[in-house]
Every structure is written in structure tokens, then in C-alpha cells.
Symmetry: D2
Subunit: 108 residues, 4 copies
């Protein structure tokens, strides 16, 4: 793995974890309907982060393209999570924002 991706890889792992934690927590909330878009985007974001972790670590020739896509999805997930007051949403929004930044920086 190219060492320039190290920080990005760490952010992707944290973002994946925050998104899946938020996914699980949203499904247990009283008002699940309000969280529907959050649940959908948490899955999108966790899955693309998992994909990005794989491509970075195997030194894929498509790494930068996938990281760029990942940044888009992280940003959308952050936007949605920011609308909610739950602690898991706030943590997820923060992790998504940091991950998007790390992805943009390294893919530039």
C-alpha cells in the first residue's frame, strides 16, 4: 500500500464503523420513519468505505477514482446525519466529513 493513503485508510475505517453503528442505532429508534434516509445512506456509505479500504490496500489502479466516489457518498451521508439530534448521527456526520476531506486530499 502506498503510504500516502495511510491517513485516508484510517478515516475510512472510522467512517465505516460510525455509519454501521448509526445504521444499527437508527433501526432501534422510536421514530424509525424519520431515520429512513439516514438508514439508507449509512448503508451506502459503509459499503463504499469498505470497498475503498479494499482497493487502497490491494494497490488498485482505480484507487483514486473510487476514493473520489467515496468522498461524494460520505458528503451526502454527512448532510443527512446532520439533520438529526441523535448522538450516533452526530458522530456519524463528523466521521463522514473527516473521511470525505481525507479522500479529497489524497485523490487530488
Amino acid at each position: 500500500m502506498n503510504t500516502k493513503y495511510e491517513e485516508c485508510l484510517k478515516m475510512l475505517q472510522e467512517c465505516l464503523e460510525a455509519c454501521n453503528t448509526c445504521f444499527d442505532a437508527c433501526l432501534k429508534e422510536e421514530n424509525v420513519k424519520m431515520m429512513a434516509e439516514c438508514i439508507r445512506l449509512d448503508r451506502e456509505c459503509a459499503d463504499v468505505c469498505a470497498f475503498a479500504v479494499q482497493v487502497i490496500t490491494r494497490n488498485s489502479p482505480f484507487t483514486n477514482q473510487i476514493i473520489d466516489l467515496c468522498a461524494d457518498i460520505c458528503e451526502r451521508c454527512a448532510q443527512e446525519c446532520t439533520k438529526h439530534e441523535h448522538e450516533h448521527c452526530k458522530r456519524c456526520a463528523e466521521a463522514c466529513r473527516k473521511c470525505a476531506e481525507a479522500c479529497r486530499e489524497v485523490a487530488a
Copy 2:
């Protein structure tokens, strides 16, 4: 790919599709809370089916173990979907049951 897995592969593809269709439809239902466990299991089931499709087609030495795990998850998803009256849940339950059977048969 070993031809003995052909029917199983087809059932896995149909199950993956039915689970993801159900996931998407559940998130759009009026009563999302009632569908929370269904949403969770749809994701579990679609993901393990996707994994099984990969291992079968690459002739993985762990194919039978993964197909067996897949059958367990399909059965649990079928049980949950059977509780609901939505057309997407009924179709999903049916696809999960058929997939579980195909997996059991080929992993035996």
C-alpha cells in the same frame, strides 16, 4: 465454476435482488418501525448472497461453508418477511426460502 452450483447461483442472484428490493421498499413504507427487523435482515441476506456469488464463481475452497452460512441467513430473513403482508416481503420470503433450499442441497 463447478456446474453443480449453477442452480444455486441463480437462486442467490434472485434472492439478493429480492432482499434489496424489499430493503428499498421497506424504507419507503408508512410504518417503517414495524419493518425495522426486516430492513436489517434484508441487508444481512443480500450481503451474504453477494459474498456467496463471489466465492462460487471464483471456485473458492470455502464455498460449501459459506453456502451453508448463507442458508442460515436466508432462512432467518424468510421467517421475518413472512410476518408481513407487503407484496415485496412475500416475494422476498419466497426467494429466501428457495435460495436456502438450493444452498442446503448443494452444500450437503
Copy 3:
């Protein structure tokens, strides 16, 4: 799932299968070294096809972006497979080209 993706979904499933069949067969060839880039791209292509199958069937808001990325990777895999005379490489190149076309058409 939006019905406009039906043909594309079928091509993705066939491409995933052809790539993984080629991956497995390349690893069993006498001259594995010559196949190294093919093995690498088969994995890249199978994995992005698997990802695309998931996003299409769950009606992801990022479907078109991911299908577009998938077309890029399919084209690169087709280019590599075309260099080799093995039957599995020819079949893979053909499946990748068809998949890339189907992806471009639907993402346009």
C-alpha cells in the same frame, strides 16, 4: 429496482462470473507470471460488478456514478484479457465489453 437497469444487471452478473472464472483459471495456468495483470484486473472487475449489482437492486441514489466507474474498470479488464489466447480470457474480454456497453448506455 428501476426496470431500465434489467439488461445491465444481467450483463453485470455475467461479467462477474466470467471475471472470477478467469481469475481461477489464470491461477491454474502454467505461465502464471504472464497472467499477473489479468488476475489483478479480474478481481477489480468482479468486485466492482458485485458492488454495482448491490447498488442497482437497492435503488441506490449513486447508481449511475457507480455504473460509470464499473464501465471504466470493465473496459480496462477487457483490454488486458484481449492480449491472451486462453479461452477463459476471450470469454472474459467479451463479457467485460458487453457489460461496459450496457453500463454506459444506462448511465448516460
Copy 4:
């Protein structure tokens, strides 16, 4: 995520990274043929670790089953990597062994 999985999650991330690093490096070796089984198992192991990371972090009801499967695959990958003298294989074998242990412990 259940905190009892924290150490296991870390080992899974390190194992995934070591397996994909080994996969990439094996494909660049002079004698690729000798590494064919290593390349195959590196992919198997990285993919099941990625799957396990997803299920742990989303609090899947199938976590222990998947972690147990993951331990089997890690052990097989460690066995294969141990046969080779390359630094990337030694590091991979070590990461696989540690991961298998962490998985067994938590799934028990």
C-alpha cells in the same frame, strides 16, 4: 458495536491490510506460479475479513458465525503464507494467525 469485539475488529483490519498487501506483492514477484495459492487465499482472507468488519460494526445477529468462518479462512491463509520466505508473506502469516486467535476468542 459491542465493545467485546474491539480487539477483534482491529485484528481484522490489520489482517485485511496484510492480505491485500501480500496479494499485490505476490503478483509482482518473479516466480508468480509459486505464489498462486497464496494469491488465491489472500483474496479469500481479505474478503472474509472485510465482511466480518461490516457485520461486527452493524451489530449483525450472525456475527459469531461469520467470525468463526473468518478464523478458519485466516488459519488456512496463514498456513500457506508460512511456506514462503517473502517478507510480505511472513507479515501476512503473522497477521492471519493473530486475527484467527482474536476471532476464536470472541466467538467462543
